[in-house]
Symmetry: C2
DNA sequence: TTCTCGGGTGTAATATTATAACGTCGCAGT
DNA sequence: ACTGCGACGTTATAATATTACACCCGAGAA
């Protein structure tokens, strides 16, 4: 799921930053790589551990800033129910995604397209939706 | 939204506990009341503050245990994206709800009924869904 | 009655997740 | 050079949540 020396995700990120006039700095790139290389959702403090082979560098704000940046670009999604982060599997910037998280193997699949509501209350205007499904993926059902 | 001396929510909770052979202890009842009395999602540590007029009592586990119990019975929902809790506005025990949270006034409306997915990945079996919409409610749109 | 067992709670400590505040550095534009 | 700004470093702390263990009390068995 992730072994190229320069992954498609990275290339897409470069492109997107270019378009938006944003800078994909080494730290941001590294965090993006780590999130994508992981098998499932990654915790911020796990990233932190991985980022600091040498002592001194990589404190929490470092990783949270990078994640915030990547979230803003839609390159990474936060799994709210897990306080964890997953790489966006689409090569474009996307708004909110619908996530399917396997409780057995931890894999995450993403869908797009309005999954929305059967019934929205009266005048409610939705700005942002969090949609996370937990269950068992096809592979993990014996 | 909550001013009876014995609210419908409380009565429903009594009934439900009865049916299930669970005990609605004073702490649990108090937490349920507080969650329902609040205008919007409540943080665990705010409950904690409210619960301890006198020093000494009410440590985090107290409130988390009560919340866990109430969540289990479906009397309270957790808003994952806020790390906060809301009272279930239905008088029955319900599975997951679809929540509409107004970013202006903080009010929460609940809908039930499969809001689910336009497209579920291949063999994925959903066990639990988190669906939270953030935006602006009818009242808050001038 | 006494025993014991389990659920609920009290308590202390600690783990985990996240942010605030402030300083520094380097670079783009003047 | 000077200035301003964005990214990052660093320290501290806030906010959220859990672990572990002790105690109490009430239900049912002995």
């Amino acid at each position: 799921m992730s072994r190229e020396t320069t992954s498609p995700a990275l290339q897409a990120a470069e492109k997107l930053c270019d378009e938006r006039g944003e800078r994909l700095t080494p730290i941001r790139r590294r965090v993006l790589e780590l999130v994508h290389e992981a098998d499932g959702p990654v915790k911020a403090y796990d990233l932190l551990e991985t980022l600091k082979p040498g002592p001194g560098s990589a404190k929490p704000p470092t990783v949270y800033r990078a994640l915030e940046f990547l979230l803003g670009l839609g390159l990474v999604h936060k799994v709210e129910a897990l306080n964890a982060y997953v790489g966006c599997s689409h090569s474009h910037s996307c708004g909110g995604a619908e996530l399917f998280i396997c409780s057995d193997c931890g894999s995450v699949q993403e869908c797009h397209g309005a999954p929305v509501s059967t019934q929205t209350p009266d005048g409610f205007i939705i700005e942002r939706s969090v949609v996370e499904h937990f269950g068992h993926c096809g592979n993990c059902r014996t």
